[in-house]
Symmetry: C2
Subunit: 211 residues, 2 copies
């Protein structure tokens, strides 16, 4: 197996430090020290901490963003994608936790983020429309699509902060509660076909746990 | 009419500057200059900018927090309270816009905020339970109360940031969209009694507009 390239090693060490502390407490010198690397060598690969944050954001996107043609189109696919996304977002949790601070510090990141978030909003809408077309959702009016799409955006971006502002220490389980909130918001619009699929999924998951 | 006390004048000038710029760009010197007051006089009343932010937060609470006995118990009261709250929150919009930054800068404010926000969560739940008891909501399961309560918290705290992260310039109208999102989340659980009251309210508001 080839050794990971230096760039990858730096990103991996930075991600660990950013998650454990925060991006302000973990300087490029700390990251270099964690890798027993000279600060000069690190700066050869990344100009500054902003460049590392930006690269980690792109890495997170490469793991989480689906092409429009690959977006979930059944309730099972949505459910499985949400479980997967919760893991990816948790692995990069510093980004979610410090989102507004990071955007305010780096105009380049902010521009990139807004562009991606706007595309994300469009993809969410496509998913809800596909679920309707395939008989999983019964949407009574067009503005309900907007309603559900905004719920997804609020939860994906601010669930971590929501817990923090109630004094709740965030862990992987309550962090994933954002996705449960999304499923709860969809619930009134689920068809019997969707409810049957969800019940079957739950049986399968419970079965797995018993093995 | 008595002249407003110096403390009140300082808070009023600070609020204006914080809303127009932000709390970092508006220093105590800027606030003193806006009042043609010496910085020493201002510091006699408020030790620093944090103390001004804290006092403005308390002022906002005094205008928005209801005693439990005075909480809305009909759909009309909820609707009117939301219109009122949207105005108060907009008047103190710097606080909502910079929420996470302000909490990270001042541990005393963070402690106070978490305590108040936890009480706020309990009040929201009481409102939903009162609406159910009075025949306005038909809640099928206990966790739906949690669902709706979390929606209110997410919207009250992060609707401004939600718009910003889509590159949307926030104004009083789209800021109030957070309350429309809350009403949308309640909609699947409204009874016919609630829907009739809401329709009557809309007629009344439309009537007012035509005058």
């Amino acid at each position: 197996m080839p050794r990971p390239a230096t760039k990858e090693k730096i990103l991996s060490a930075a991600l660990k430090l950013f998650n454990e502390k925060n991006t302000q407490a973990a300087t490029t010198n700390h990251i270099a020290a964690a890798l027993e690397m000279s600060p000069g060598n690190l700066h050869y690969h990344f100009k500054n901490r902003e460049a590392i944050v930006f690269a980690l954001y792109e890495q997170m996107l490469s793991k989480s963003v689906l092409a429009n043609a690959a977006l979930p189109s059944s309730i099972t696919q949505v459910h499985e994608h949400q479980i997967y996304l919760a893991k990816v977002y948790w692995a990069y949790r510093f980004f979610n936790r410090e989102l507004l601070f990071l955007l305010s510090r780096d105009p380049k990141l902010k521009t990139r983020y807004i562009k991606e978030n706007t595309a994300h909003k469009q993809r969410i809408r496509i998913v809800f429309e596909q679920l309707s077309a395939n008989g999983y959702l019964d949407i009574p009016a067009d503005h309900v699509y907007t309603q559900l799409t905004d719920t997804v955006l609020l939860c994906n971006q601010f669930w971590h902060s929501h817990l923090e502002t109630l004094g709740i220490e965030v862990d992987e389980a309550n962090f994933a509660g954002g996705f449960e909130h999304i499923e709860g918001a969809m619930h009134p619009y689920l068809t019997s076909k969707a409810l049957e699929e969800l019940a079957a999924l739950q049986d399968k998951n419970l079965g797995k746990k018993n093995i």
